[in-house]
Amino acid sequence: MTAALQTPASTVRGDSDDRNDRVTGSMATHTDAEALDRARAAAARVTDPEMPMLTLVDLGVLRDVAIEDGHVVTTITPTYSGCPAMATMRDDLQRELQDAGFPDAQVRVSLTPAWTSDWITDEGRRALQGAGISPPGQAPRHQGPVALTLMPTKRALNCTLCGSANVKLSSEFGPTACKAMYQCLDCLEPFQHVKEI
């Protein structure tokens, strides 16, 4: 049984009714459905190793939880090609699923579709904000060649400490591949911003 993800939030969280509509009939399917719920709940508990305030669901990295031939198969996608946290995410998922009674759970890495910061859920954005990290705006959509941008990226964002919009980009590259660094010009707080990608 495979429940393909339409969006990361709707299926992995397992709180939607339409998911139950797919489960029909026999006892075997019911058992699968129960196992799938447990697997989804376990997978949804795993947090990002760099930003522990976010679950992999909030981050949009967990793409699918399914049962194939009696085994739990989860699919994750890297945020950046060189993201060094992938192996840890995979291990954490495997451990959490093992604790939930799925010792043979498999974690797949899917490169397509490519991760975009637009997949960070509303809940994830609130969690980032609460932890003093500015959440991303809408990711750029490229139609045709990527435009060259020689002036600093303009983003409408606010200081995560005092809320001022008077902020300055100090670097497009922060402590992790997915973040830029800003400083508030009013309260002087330095803070990170998750880049639009």
């Binding site: 490169l111 397509t112 490519a114 990527v146």
Partner: protein
């Protein structure tokens, strides 16, 4: 194995560290949660779960050779940029350079793994039982003459102006290629390109802005930038020369003929130069030897020295567990 480097920590059944006294192991404090100690202590095939079937109409050997070329470009340039770690003019730029190197390393890992999956005969043989994955075998156990990167990627580092000039040239060229590679018939190459385009857009903007800043800064910064561009320019032409492997994969709808992107890349670079108020350098191309260049395995001495540095530890311990 007697010479294998290891950090030994005992665990009880619950996975907690067993104390050996205060001074016995300086690392024990780091290992409260063993699984979180250093990313990547355990590697697996980065293409695990990805369909690596070679599409019809292309020789798997050509696909593998092409991925090796692209993978070597990214690997060698990543290594060069990472040599800047802790040496950049300020912390922000140090981190930016490290991030760029990391993106390229990630792209390289996928490309080398793609190469190995398409043609396993390319992968160097190691003693049986060696845990070294295919992409690492390609990175660490090939000789300099087996590398297929363009020579621009191996140029030894100069000053910061040289770094941003080189990143601008590389990412302008590479972004133009990857934008086309997104529609490759090979689903793995296409996926790598889609991610790569997002990443390298940031790299090109970063380098372009610094070129502007240096060109419009002081006499000293402008002179340094112009000197760097003069020095790199002889390697610009090589980026757009078509190797027979590139022609073959381009014809098969798998790869990109670099000659096709020459005009577009040149126009973008000229936009940066115009905004910076500087001229394109006028230097002829660096000749090959008997017509051979980076793509043919013909390199400058700098690559051999860089590889010696990069490969020495892996070669010392072909059966090492990390």
């Amino acid at each position: 194995m007697t010479n294998e480097p290891s950090i030994h920590v005992d665990h009880d059944e619950a996975g907690a560290n067993i104390e050996h006294g205060d001074h016995e192991n300086a690392y024990s404090g780091l290992l409260v949660n063993d699984a979180h100690w250093a990313f990547g202590t355990d590697f697996e095939d980065p293409l695990a779960g990805v369909d690596t079937t070679v599409p019809s109409g292309v020789d798997p050997k050509d696909l593998a050779a092409y991925c090796l070329m692209l993978g070597d470009d990214a690997l060698v340039f990543s290594q060069r940029i990472s040599e800047w770690c802790s040496s950049a003019p300020d912390l922000e730029e140090d981190i930016a350079l490290a991030n760029i190197a990391l993106d390229l390393l990630g792209q390289s890992r996928l490309l080398l793994a793609r190469s190995a999956a398409a043609d396993p005969s390319l992968v160097p043989q190691l003693p049986e039982g060696s845990p070294v994955p295919d992409e690492d075998r390609l990175a660490f156990f090939r000789e300099d003459l087996a590398f297929r990167n363009v020579r621009l990627a191996e140029v030894p580092n100069g000053d910061f102006a040289e770094a941003v000039a080189k990143i601008l040239i590389y990412s302008t060229w590479r972004l133009a290629i990857f934008e086309r590679l997104q529609s490759s018939r090979d689903s793995v190459l296409s996926a790598i390109a889609v991610k790569g385009v997002k990443e390298m857009s940031y790299h090109r903007d970063f380098a372009g802005r610094w070129v502007l800043t240096l060109a419009r800064g002081t006499e000293e910064s402008k002179t340094r930038l112009l000197t760097a561009l003069e020095g790199l320019w002889p390697l610009w032409g090589e980026l757009f020369e078509t190797h027979p492997v590139e022609a073959s994969v381009a014809a098969a709808g798998i790869g990109v003929d670099p000659a096709e992107v020459a005009d577009e890349a040149g126009v973008i670079l000229d936009q940066v130069f115009a905004a910076a108020g500087i001229e394109r350098p006028e230097r002829g191309a660096l000749a090959g030897v008997r017509g051979e260049r980076g793509r043919d395995g013909l390199h400058t001495e700098a690559l051999s020295k860089m590889l010696a540095d990069m490969q020495v530890v892996a070669r010392q311990y072909p059966e090492g567990q990390w």
